[in-house]
Every structure is written in structure tokens, then in C-alpha cells.
């Protein structure tokens, strides 16, 4: 792959990536979220999300010949296979049917000779034979006619791999975060399988954030950061500390705010003990954390490790268990109302999905939760209520000015606003509840660079002006380090540790990768 680049509507996610792969080589790709790993693989595999948004830059050469990959079918024909992070398996089908999906072996019959190839009979016996061969290659003894539904996750993954192996022209196999869902022993099996596959001459691209796995199986390693290739190393030339450091990188970002050293002196205002949250993709298994009054604390970590689940769980958006005490009162979990009644507020990471009524006006969005939970902005007529539109308008005007929301007016529909301004509307809505603690998830996601700073500035001002305690969850480490007093890192659903913004990149990198640090 040469000089690969990609832009999404003016947002550059990948630039000048160069990668070379030899037959039988195992090549690792590491990077944080948003570094561009998935985008790179989507390009290689011809996913429609690339082509419907303008295609890619650069050239891809397979076996010396230049290739145009415009669809997964093209990629497959060139011998590129992919084991996706989200399994492409049909649960209602058997293993054989999944392995042979759209590549079924057929025999012609009377009808197909007249009408067309699509009417060929399926040769189930031959298909089962092939499936058996592929499974045996991976040392799996399971019945090839078993249904996928109900199989343990590790097995399903191996079926995914078997499907790719069955493709006779396979030259390159891409593994996208394969061990994320596996137990340790299953992960070891996988790494062994990878060695076997590469011994057959098939090259492997292994994407992961687990540095020790990379060091175990890979020969060469590429580190991506912010869409650029920051390093390429041979395994013998590096170690996990260097990789961690390269992954995180010291970004010379503006330090917006000097972190306070004295936050932990006061007693904690929010104590979280043994919190576990069932949020699909961001499970929290056991988090305990103390948060102090008036601080800005960051919750960081890689995607899927659980950092987003913490706030969502406490605010009742997803099923949760554990003990949470705020300002002396026990917070009932699985109950958004309770959390809000206790002066907690939340700005969700899913701005468009959960945070806004996109087809409603700015003022209606801002006032909404306050209306429902605190009865504000309502005129009462006995048992009936009526919206006090004047009061809503007044408040909206005030918030637009205070937060500098760029719009045509309080009646404008939020769908029409830019990301940054939408975010401000969400913050305004949360502020209307007059909370004592504000959870903010991914405050600057999807916002252009200029607006990012404004949103962060707003949060800082709120903390300083109103004494608001802010808990900021973000995948952008740099912004956490520029604004927070302390940063907690969540890895594999638990708190891996709490760092200061001034701690080294290596510290952060290792903690996020889940590695044990020598000087922990």
C-alpha cells in the first residue's frame, strides 16, 4: 500500500501511509482510536463506506500489479480476506453454510442448463468436505453442520477464520482487533493459529492495541497516530514501552488550565464502588473511583474498554450494579430520574442519537429536561399544565448568549447547527437542571478543530464560575491532559490507574494498553 490517504468531507483521517507485506509475514498495526487503523482496513477491503464518500488516495499493489479495490468482492478476488471485529456470521446458518457463503459449490442440473447457473443444485457433500478441511487446519473438532447460534464466541471467531482460509486464493488475511472478545486461553489459541496460517505462506495484518500480543507474534510493526504513520519497526528493534510512547505521542497541545494539585485534599463528593455496567461495546466490570468537589477529572482509555460505560451507567441509561454515593446520598441505579433529582447531569457522547431532538428548536431542546424533571417553564392551571413559552424563550436567549451558540435564533432546528453548537445546546440543557456535578462524554467528538477549543473553554469556565464538578470522558488523551486535574484510565472495564496530566507518555500508553508497568 503506497501513499494511502482518506478524507471524509474535509476531515482528514489518513495521510501518506506506506506499508509493505511479504508472503507469510505477520505485520502488526497499533494505534489509539481514531488513529486510522479501521479506515485503512476498510480501504483495503473495499468497504462501501469508503467509496460512497469519495474513495481513497494512493495506490495498492498486489503481487506487483496495481489493484483497484472498489468492493469486498474485488478484495476477495485479489486474495485479501478479513476477519472482522463484528462477526459476519449468520447465526441461523450452519458452520458450513457460513464458510461457503456466496461461494457455494454447485452441480448443474436439468433446469440450470436451460435457465441459468443460479439454478444449479447445491453440492452439500462437497461443501461439508471443504468446511471440514478448513476447520481441521485450525484444529477444531466441532461438527461442520452445527448451527452458529449458541456457539461460544471463541468458536465463532474460528469459523470466521475458517471461512477466509477456505478461499483458495488467499494471500493476505487481516485480523481487526480479534482478541477483544476472547478469553486469555482463546487468545493464545488464536495466536498459535496465526503462526500456522503464516507458515502456509499467507501474510497477516494484525490490528490490535494489546502490545504484548504484538510482541509475541509479529515480525514487523507499524504505529499509526492521528492518521499518520509515526514509525515502522522490526520486532527485535523495539519494546512495549517504546510502542506505548509512539502510540500516545507527546502532543504539544495548549495547556488550557493548570491542573490543581490540591483536589484530593478535600473529602470526595462522589464515591463509586464496584460499579459494573452492561453497555454493549463498553462494558464496565468493576470500577471504584473517588471524585472530589470542584475538580475536573478525566476518564480516558481506548475504545471499547469501558470508559463510556461509567457515566452512562451512573445516569441510568444502561443496566448497572454497584454502589454510588453523591453528596452523602445513595444514588439509585437504573433510574435516570433519581440521578437527576440528586443534582447529577449528563451530556451524552451520542449527541445526535441521545442528546438532541434534532427536528425540534434550540429552545425546546434546552428547556426539555428541566420541564420534565423539575417542572420549570410550566404554567399551572389546577391539574393541567401549559408550556410557558415566554419563559422558555427568555432562557434560551440567555444561554445562546452565555455559551455563544451560533444560530439564526432560538427557534432554529438543532439539526441545522454545526457539531460544536449542537454540543453547546446539549450542555445548556444539562445546565438548566442546575446540577452540582456534570458528566460530559466525548465533548469534542466530530467537532472541527476551532470549535473544539471553544467547547473545552466553556467547560473550564463553568467549573471555575459555578464551582461545578466536571467528569469528562474522552478518547482524546491530549484534550484530557490539557484541561483535567487528574485522569483515570479505564482498561478492560476496570480502573487501571489514575495519572496526572504531566505523567509521561509511556505511563499513559502502557496503562491504556493494559500492560503492567515496571514502576507502577
Amino acid at each position: 500500500m503506497q501513499d494511502i490517504g482518506k478524507e471524509y468531507f474535509g476531515n482528514r483521517v489518513l495521510s501518506a501511509i506506506n506499508l509493505q507485506l511479504k508472503p507469510g509475514e505477520i505485520h502488526g498495526i497499533v494505534g489509539e482510536n481514531g488513529a486510522g487503523k479501521s479506515t485503512l482496513m476498510n480501504i483495503l477491503f473495499g468497504m462501501s463506506v469508503i467509496h460512497s464518500t469519495g474513495g481513497y488516495e494512493g495506490k495498492i499493489r498486489v503481487s506487483g500489479k496495481e489493484a483497484q479495490i472498489k468492493s469486498p468482492l474485488d478484495a476477495m478476488n485479489l486474495g485479501i480476506g478479513m476477519v472482522h471485529q463484528e462477526f459476519m456470521l449468520i447465526p441461523g446458518y450452519t458452520i458450513t453454510e457460513n464458510i461457503k457463503l456466496n461461494r457455494e459449490i454447485t452441480k448443474p442440473n436439468l433446469a440450470s442448463r436451460i435457465v441459468g447457473k443460479r439454478y444449479d443444485t447445491l453440492d452439500v457433500v462437497a461443501m461439508r468436505r471443504d468446511a471440514r478441511k478448513a476447520l481441521d487446519k485450525l484444529d477444531m473438532s466441532i461438527d461442520e453442520w452445527a448451527t452458529i447460534a449458541g456457539l461460544p464466541v471463541g468458536y465463532m471467531q474460528f469459523v470466521e477464520i475458517a471461512r477466509e482460509l477456505d478461499k483458495t486464493n488467499l494471500k493476505v488475511l487481516v485480523f481487526d482487533e480479534p482478541t477483544a472478545v476472547l478469553t486469555e486461553s482463546e487468545a493464545d489459541n488464536l495466536l498459535d493459529a496465526m503462526r500456522v496460517i503464516s507458515n502456509h505462506g499467507i501474510a497477516i495484518l494484525f490490528i490490535t492495541h494489546r502490545l504484548h500480543e504484538i510482541m509475541t507474534v509479529c515480525e514487523n510493526i507499524t504505529v499509526l497516530r492521528d492518521g499518520k504513520m509515526v514509525a515502522q519497526r522490526k520486532k527485535d528493534e523495539t519494546n512495549i514501552y517504546e510502542l506505548a510512547e509512539l502510540m500516545v505521542g507527546s502532543r504539544v497541545g495548549e495547556v488550557m488550565r493548570k491542573p490543581r494539585e490540591d483536589v484530593t485534599d478535600e473529602k470526595p463528593i462522589l464515591t463509586i464502588r464496584n460499579l459494573s455496567v452492561e453497555m454493549p461495546g463498553e462494558e464496565v466490570s468493576n470500577v471504584s473511583l473517588d471524585i472530589h468537589k470542584g475538580e475536573i477529572i478525566g476518564i480516558g482509555g481506548l475504545a471499547g474498554q469501558g470508559k463510556i460505560g461509567v457515566a452512562n451507567g451512573i445516569m441510568g441509561l444502561f443496566p448497572a450494579e454497584g454502589e454510588v454515593v453523591f453528596d452523602g446520598k445513595q444514588i439509585e441505579l437504573n433510574n435516570p430520574t433519581n440521578a437527576m433529582m440528586n443534582s447529577l447531569a449528563f451530556v451524552s457522547e451520542d449527541r445526535r442519537g441521545v442528546g438532541l431532538l434534532l427536528d425540534s428548536s434550540i429552545e425546546n431542546n434546552i428547556a426539555f429536561t428541566a420541564i420534565q424533571r423539575q417542572g420549570k417553564y410550566l404554567k399551572k392551571f389546577g391539574p393541567f399544565t401549559q408550556l410557558d413559552k415566554a419563559a422558555v424563550r427568555q432562557t434560551a436567549d440567555r444561554m445562546i448568549k452565555e455559551l455563544d451558540i451560533r444560530c439564526t435564533g432560538p427557534t432554529q432546528i438543532t439539526r441545522r447547527l454545526s457539531g460544536g453548537n449542537q454540543q453547546k445546546v446539549c450542555i445548556a440543557r444539562a445546565l438548566m437542571l442546575e446540577p452540582k456535578l456534570l458528566f460530559v462524554s466525548e465533548p469534542t467528538r466530530g467537532i472541527d478543530v476551532g470549535a473544539k477549543k471553544l467547547v473545552l473553554q466553556t467547560l473550564v469556565e463553568l467549573s471555575e464560575k459555578y464551582g461545578l464538578t466536571v467528569v469528562m470522558t474522552s478518547s482524546e488523551l491530549a484534550e484530557l491532559r490539557s484541561v483535567c486535574d487528574r485522569i483515570a484510565i479505564v482498561t478492560e472495564g476496570k480502573i487501571a490507574g489514575i495519572l496526572k496530566p504531566t505523567d509521561t507518555d509511556v505511563d499513559f500508553g502502557l496503562m491504556m494498553a493494559g500492560e503492567k508497568h515496571d514502576n507502577a
Binding site: 437527576m340 449528563f346 441521545v354
Partner: protein, 352 residues
């Protein structure tokens, strides 16, 4: 940052899109037919009078679509259920031998408890089948109409105005001539330029619209709308979306009950048995013509849509009769137009 130009263009595009292709076609078609009718010397004031009457008559039934749409349960194809509640109320009022405006309001009063209960049960069921509300609603509606046919046939009512002279059961059509026929229509009605304005009817329709508007400005109403627009948003603000959906269904059912009584008093007959079967589709078509979609509806859509749809039906018949003696053209065009409009709405990729 969105520049002013982009924003303005976006707004214009929004308006055109929200006006909708079918609405434009219908408006054009209607105006065309009006022009043709005048050319064919069909008395226009008469057309307009009929249109106004049918507008008022059908308006509340179309209004019944709104709560269901806003709550996120789609087009209220379960309208037959609300209608049946209204019919039950009407029949009880006749059995008690009430007359005049008292009878009308009594009928409404009797039907409301039924509407509450059935609406609640129905809403409960809809919550169990999220995503398939419209399909299941259609068949449940048909099924209940058939069940009620059995009931009407065996009903213990004795009033000679309704029952078969021999044997049990109620007649198919029951006349309201001596009771409350056109009681709303004639209230304060007046003539202007030869056009008869059924003031009472229109006032009642507007009153119902006002009640709906007021409701959606209450705390519950606002919560209901949010639940329909973005359930996850509503849930994160502590709203029980399922409860809101049931409230919406009950409201739609009640409006359906009131609607059929308004319709019947204007029509002059109460129609039992299989009459309610397809009324849901006609009401749905009307609100869609008014510009609503499966997810969004306003009072304007209700009023405008009913007017356009009924206007079309009123003018089509005499025009068709003059052009060629095609009696059933009105019925056929009603089928084609109403279902065509619903099809257009369904094909809008509005996603499930």
C-alpha cells in the same frame, strides 16, 4: 461553521421537501377539477358547501391519527377500534331514547370509558410489537370489526329505532333523523353567497383541534412528542416511553370515538357492521395528503389534508358524471388516491 447562504438554502429546501410531492399533485388536481367544474356549469357554491360539510364531518377522525403518529406508533390503523367505541356510545344513547344535542353529547360521554379501556389494552399490545405496529393493527382492527358484527347481531338492545322487527340484533343502518341528525351542522349555520356554512360543525372541529393543541403543550404532551421523536432522548430524561405510547393510543381512540359520532350526526345515519373496516385508511390518507408523515403531524396537516381530500371527492363525482356517466368513479378514485398516498408515504425510506 454554517454560513448564512448554506443555511438559507437548507431552509428553502426543507420547506419544499416538507410540502411534499403528493400534496402538490393533489392541490393542482383539485384546482384543475374546480376549474373544469365551473366550465361544466356545475354550481360552485354547492360544491363548496358540500366540501365544508364533509370537512367538518371527517376532520375529527383524521385528527385521531395525530396522537398515534406523534407518539411514534405510526398511522393509527386501529381506528376501527375507536369507531366501535363511538358506535357503542351512540347505540346506548338511542336505547335510552335520548334526542337532540343531549343525545349527541351523551353518546360521546358513554363512548369515552370504552375508548379509555380499549385504547389502554390496544396500546399495551402495541408496546409488545414495536416496529410492526401498523401491520398488526390492520388485522386486529379487521378482526375486532368482525367480532363486533357478531355482537351487533346478538345485541340485547330493544329500541325499535335500532333493532330488527323480528328476532335479535341491530339493523345495519340506523337513522338519526328524529334525533340529532345534523344537530351540529345546523347550529348557527348561515348562508353567504349561496354557500351554506355549517358553523356548529366547524366550531366543534376547531374545538377538538384546540384541545389537542393544548394537550401537546402540557408536560405530558411534550414528553409524549419527545418519546415519539427520539425514544432514547426521552428515556435519558427519565420519561417512560412505553407509558407515553399508551397515552397516545388512548387519546387516538377517544378521538376516533368522538369522530365517528360527529360523522354520523352529519351523515344522518349510524352505520354498524362492516362500515368501519376501511375508515382507518381514509383518515390516514387524508392526514398524509395534508403533509404529515408516518413520524410527524401537525394540526395544519389535519385541517388542510381533510379539506383537500374531501374537496377532491366532492368535485370528482359531478365532473365525472358530466363527462361520461361513470357513477362509481368517485369510489374508485377514492380507493386509488387514498392508497396511493399511503404508498408514497411508506416508500419514503423513513427507515424502521
Amino acid at each position: 461553521m454554517i454560513t448564512p447562504d448554506v443555511r438559507r438554502f437548507g431552509a428553502v429546501k426543507d420547506t419544499l421537501k416538507s410540502f411534499g410531492l403528493p400534496r402538490i399533485i393533489i392541490v393542482v388536481f383539485l384546482v384543475l377539477l374546480w376549474a373544469i367544474s365551473m366550465f361544466l356549469e356545475i354550481p360552485f357554491p354547492q360544491l363548496l358547501s358540500d366540501t365544508l360539510v364533509r370537512w367538518g364531518m371527517n376532520g375529527v377522525l383524521v385528527l385521531a391519527m395525530m396522537p398515534s403518529i406523534l407518539a411514534g406508533t405510526g398511522l393509527y390503523f386501529g381506528l376501527p377500534i375507536g369507531i366501535i367505541c363511538g358506535l357503542l356510545g351512540g347505540v346506548i344513547a338511542i336505547e335510552l331514547n335520548l334526542v337532540g344535542i343531549t343525545a349527541f353529547f351523551a353518546a360521546i360521554a358513554f363512548s369515552i370509558p370504552f375508548a379509555f379501556v380499549l385504547g389502554w389494552v390496544y396500546g399495551f399490545m402495541l408496546n409488545r410489537i414495536k416496529g410492526s405496529e401498523m401491520t398488526v393493527a390492520t388485522y386486529v382492527g379487521f378482526s375486532i370489526v368482525s367480532l363486533m358484527c357478531i355482537f351487533w347481531s346478538m345485541a340485547p338492545f330493544k329500541s325499535p329505532a335500532m333493532a330488527w322487527p323480528i328476532g335479535r340484533g341491530l339493523r345495519v343502518t340506523i337513522s338519526l333523523a328524529d334525533r340529532y341528525e345534523k344537530v351540529l351542522n345546523n347550529f348557527l349555520s348561515f348562508n353567504i353567497f349561496g354557500i351554506m356554512i355549517p358553523t356548529g360543525l366547524i366550531l366543534f372541529l376547531l374545538l377538538m383541534c384546540l384541545i389537542v393543541v393544548l394537550f401537546f403543550n402540557t408536560k405530558t404532551g411534550i414528553a409524549l412528542k419527545a418519546g415519539g421523536e427520539n425514544p432514547r432522548f426521552a428515556q435519558s430524561s427519565g420519561i417512560n416511553v412505553d407509558t407515553m405510547r399508551i397515552v397516545g393510543t388512548i387519546f387516538s381512540t377517544v378521538l376516533g370515538a368522538i369522530g365517528i359520532l360527529v360523522y354520523s350526526q352529519s351523515f344522518g345515519f349510524i352505520q354498524l357492521y362492516t362500515a368501519p373496516l376501511f375508515m382507518g385508511f381514509l383518515a390516514a390518507a387524508a392526514i398524509l395528503i395534508g403533509g404529515a408523515s408516518i413520524k410527524k403531524a401537525t394540526i395544519l396537516h389535519v385541517l388542510l389534508g381533510t379539506f383537500l381530500f374531501q374537496g377532491l371527492l366532492v368535485v370528482a363525482l359531478p365532473v365525472a358524471n358530466k363527462v361520461a356517466t361513470l357513477g362509481s368513479l368517485a369510489e374508485i378514485s377514492r380507493i386509488i388516491v387514498s392508497n396511493g398516498v399511503i404508498l408514497y408515504a411508506l416508500a419514503q425510506h423513513s427507515g424502521d
